[in-house]
């Protein structure tokens, strides 16, 4: 499996990263290098091994489904690039 410029473009779109056309080839080379190095994992016998998603054996706790914090729009909006009347202002989505 080789990563080419077209794959890089596709992944960049998936990741919402604007990569200039000139960066696609060098990135493909870098990512290929990294992924080829990663390929060695195929050597490891993992038949019947449970995938490990958490670093320690610990059951995730459930909490009461109640409001603990909130009702403070000024704190929520304090860092917004643009806001109005307690709402985030975002670029127009629907024409």
């Amino acid at each position: 499996m080789a990563i080419d410029a077209a794959t890089v473009r596709k992944v960049a779109i998936l990741a919402r990263l604007n990569e200039p056309e000139a960066r696609l080839e060098p990135l493909a080379r870098e990512l290929n290098g990294i992924m080829t190095w990663i390929e060695q994992l195929a050597e490891v016998d993992t038949d019947g091994v449970e995938p490990m998603a958490s670093a320690v054996d610990h059951k995730l706790p459930l909490r009461e489904d109640i409001v603990t914090e909130g009702g403070d729009p000024s704190r929520v909006l304090a860092n917004a690039p643009s806001s109005k009347d307690n709402f985030f202002v975002v670029p127009k989505v629907v024409e």
Partner: protein, 495 residues
């Protein structure tokens, strides 16, 4: 006491001096504020908060006068700029967070302030903690206070907690917070002659720490001595309902384990850590460490961690996958940078294209790729299974021994700029000895153990069982005592 006398104190002796009113928090804080202001060449701090520091110091002095001193009362500390600090800019050293001023405080720093500590400012790091040299920071790299004997070349302090390690080594704080996802506490500690511990995953709450790879990220201290690290960790740790992975366990008095006898402890020496091309000096230091622990009464056992060589490739799937998910939140809508664009998608793409640096983008791309349709099983699921194998290696080893001893890094600090001559994989190999502990979730500590032929510090690493930091502190104390590491960097950066 003169300013430099105050800044050169260990945290432990500073706390004693404060308690016995030999000097005030205002005095020792002012001494540090002055030292920080005179050390801009190091680029360790990305935000200095002298007014806040002196205000906190005055409050600490008042509490000391009332006999209400907390565990860290009046001690000036540095905070890695990955911890959210209410009202004070928090950037993760990324342009995408811009002037972000959190309206909340991270749990770890909340604990420090609860115990009376004083904030000197925010410390530089690799962007989003992704890097091993501090060169991916949007603020430029930190300079290592250490230089090779007879050389003027600036060296890397390591990364990602390079600012934390440099600030501690240069006496610009009594101790610092740091985080470790693949070695980001231990590698910079080793490069700067400081002590760093990555505790068990879940010991410290991740709430309010800018996320990189959530199943690997863990906070810990960088300090001047093993005992200082123990004092800091006691304050930083503790269960937090706001982080569902925070462990509901009590916090021991870690410092009480420093100086405890290590007689009869079994120390595992993993043969897989003897990697190709390892410098003879690192090998010799490791042998010395084994000898020191033997003399302290430990029993040395050969152990095997057969999947060690797969740890880095596993990490470079798991960490980027989690990073690409975590960093999806930077969309320019709610906080941070928003770039212009004709459509909403263009705004997203331009914001992220301009806001993230190259290394962060590279890792987001790897993450998006390994998680994309058709590759998930082949890469991500496979890596999660190998991760289990790696964790099982540790479980098996810990049936034969109480802790492991390894080198902390495959080399001493190297020159800034070397990164540009290496491919990414070569750079990633820096974390070869440290990344396994993150994957397995076990605690690990780096202790300065000697100088190389150029006079640069080298560290040894101790790895312990899950939630057994106590043994690490005892062993770390024993190594520290035997190594008797007292060297300090020459202060070339002042003025």
């Amino acid at each position: 006491m003169a300013g430099s006398e105050l800044t050169s104190l260990t945290l432990k002796s500073a706390l004693e001096g404060l308690k016995s009113k030999k000097f005030s928090s205002t005095e020792i804080t002012q001494a540090h504020v002055d030292a920080v202001a005179a050390s801009k060449t190091l680029n360790a701090y990305v935000l200095e908060t002298p007014e806040r520091a002196l205000q906190m110091a005055a409050a600490a002095d008042a509490r000391i006068a009332r006999g209400e001193a907390g565990l860290l009362e009046g001690a000036p500390l540095g905070i890695k700029d990955l911890f959210c600090t209410e009202g004070y800019r928090t950037t993760a050293a990324s342009k995408i967070l811009g002037d972000f001023k959190p309206t909340y405080e991270s749990t770890v720093t909340t604990h420090l302030w609860r115990d009376g500590a004083v904030m000197l400012g925010k410390l530089n790091l690799d962007e989003f903690a992704m890097g091993s040299t501090n060169e991916t920071s949007a603020f430029g790299p930190v300079a290592n206070p250490w230089r090779a004997e007879g050389s003027n070349q600036t060296l890397t302090p390591g990364g990602s907690s390079g600012g934390s390690a440099a600030a501690v080594a240069a006496d610009l704080c009594l101790g610092a917070t740091a985080t470790d996802t693949g070695g980001s506490i231990r590698q910079p500690a080793a490069f700067t002659g400081t002590v760093g511990i990555k505790p068990t995953y879940g010991r410290c709450s991740r709430w309010g720490i800018v996320a990189f790879a959530s199943s690997l990220d863990q906070a810990g201290p960088i300090a001047k001595t093993v005992e200082d690290a123990a004092i800091l960790l006691r304050s930083m740790a503790g269960h937090d309902p706001k982080d569902s992975t925070s462990l509901p366990v009590g916090v021991p008095d870690f410092a009480s384990f420093v100086g405890k006898s290590v007689k009869g402890l079994r120390i595992g020496v993993p043969k897989e850590y003897r990697v190709d091309g390892m410098p003879a000096e690192i090998e010799a230091l490791w042998a010395k460490g084994i000898e020191w622990l033997k003399e302290a009464g430990c029993e040395i056992v050969d152990v095997s961690l057969p999947h060690t060589k797969y740890a880095l490739p596993t990490y470079y799937i798991v960490a980027p996958a989690e990073a690409s998910s975590n960093l999806a939140r930077y969309d320019g809508m709610r906080y941070g940078l928003r770039a212009e664009g004709k459509t909403l998608t263009e705004v997203y793409e331009n914001t992220r294209g301009q806001g993230f640096g190259d290394e962060v983008k590279r890792r987001i791309m790897i993450g998006a790729y390994v998680l994309s349709a058709g590759y998930y099983d082949a890469y991500y699921l496979k890596a999660q299974k190998v991760r289990r194998r790696i964790a099982d290696d540790f479980k098996a080893a810990f049936e034969k021994c109480d802790a492991l001893l390894t080198p902390a890094t495959p080399s001493a600090a190297f020159a800034l700029g070397v990164k540009d001559t290496m491919d990414p994989v070569q750079m990633y190999l820096n974390d070869v000895f440290t990344v396994t502990a993150n994957l397995a979730g076990v605690p690990a500590m780096s202790v300065p153990a000697g100088l190389d032929k150029d006079g640069l510090p080298l560290g040894l690493q101790l790895i312990g069982r899950t939630l057994d930091e106590e043994t690490l502190f005892s062993l770390g104390g024993a190594l520290e005592k035997a190594a008797d590491f007292r060297a300090k960097p020459k202060t070339w950066w002042k003025g």
